[in-house]
Symmetry: C2
Subunit: 204 residues, 2 copies
């Protein structure tokens, strides 16, 4: 349950409703999230049961009533405990690599088409995330980087920036990798269209 940790983290800044938290999490690239609310509302109920947050219902005229959650002392203690926990290794589920692993029997053209569409997807994703992270393409002066919650400490801002850089660099690396694989493969079919095929048939 790492979504709970994220919820508790946001609530350590200020009280929020479930709806607010949903938006914060869906707008942030840090939290991989299915996009549906069920998990957040259930987690909040659970946090409440465990006494880590308190709840206050705000009635609104002609709008559904809000539930404002506030972090408790126990919540802050739990958050602090989690902060110091032994770090986990990242686990990356890259289905494309699995797909590629068995793609050796495809024709060079088919493989290249596959790699090209992966390259395109990664590059779109990278650009999207760059924009959201406030990386501007050197021109385009308008549109400031989004700053959802200001007034954080300098160290915290530094950490958030480094986290964003980490994730962007991963997409960048993936893009460089796929481009390199494509150029390798096209180079080797380039010299000798049948060199690969000859090798292949040699061993099969």
């Amino acid at each position: 349950m790492d979504i709970q940790y994220a919820l508790l983290g946001y609530l350590s800044w200020q009280p929020f409703s479930g709806y607010d938290l949903k938006k914060l999490i869906s707008e942030s690239d840090l939290f991989y999230w299915s996009g549906n609310n069920n998990q957040i509302y259930n987690s909040l109920v659970d946090l409440y049961k465990r006494g880590l947050v308190s709840k206050e219902v705000q009635l609104q005229e002609s709008l559904p009533s809000k539930k404002i959650y506030t972090i408790t002392q126990e919540g802050r203690a739990e958050l602090h405990r989690q902060m110091l926990a032994a770090p986990e290794l990242p686990d990356c589920h890259n289905n494309f690599l699995i797909q590629l692993a068995w793609a050796g029997d495809l024709s060079p053209e088919e493989i290249d088409t596959l790699l090209a569409s992966y390259e395109e997807e990664i590059s779109v994703q990278l650009r999207m995330r760059q924009v959201r992270a406030g990386v501007q393409p050197a021109s385009d002066p308008g549109s400031e980087a989004r700053q959802p919650i200001p007034n954080r400490t300098a160290r915290e801002q530094y950490l958030w920036q480094k986290i964003a850089e980490n994730m962007l660099a991963q997409y960048q690396h993936e893009l460089d990798w796929v481009r390199q694989v494509r150029s390798d493969l096209s180079a080797s079919t380039g010299w000798t269209g049948c060199a690969w095929r000859a090798l292949d048939e040699d061993q099969s």
Copy 2:
């Protein structure tokens, strides 16, 4: 269900038992896997129901009987269809980044301890995977790179090598990143132990 795809992939090489497949998958770094067998045996049953593999029971004296699975024509067709499917984006679950996101209130020493233990874990993992992938530390002539199934085509071998490089590079990048963050943070507490603290208290 990407484990099924991997199973079908291995079975496209040659027939295997569930136990064999379990070992292949657990020894390979490509497939993130909980380490338990349930998923594999169930997936094989499912593949069998869908007619993608056939099954043959081999009785052995004084050993449990084996079930040897062989890929069918429909299985090969399905594998080929999956090969050409639209690639998915990688989804990386890096819990450490989430942990770090809320660690801004820790003391510089506590953050560095946290980063140091992450660095250690990544570096251990990287070395382990380098060894398994056959990357030798320039000395140490013995111990060849493991080659579970030889007789693959040259293109396939190239792809598997690139896949391994991709994953190693990701760990390497993670290691570089955490080292850079550590040196940044220690540098800024170095010049002025209280510069950070002053900034922090300014804004809180």
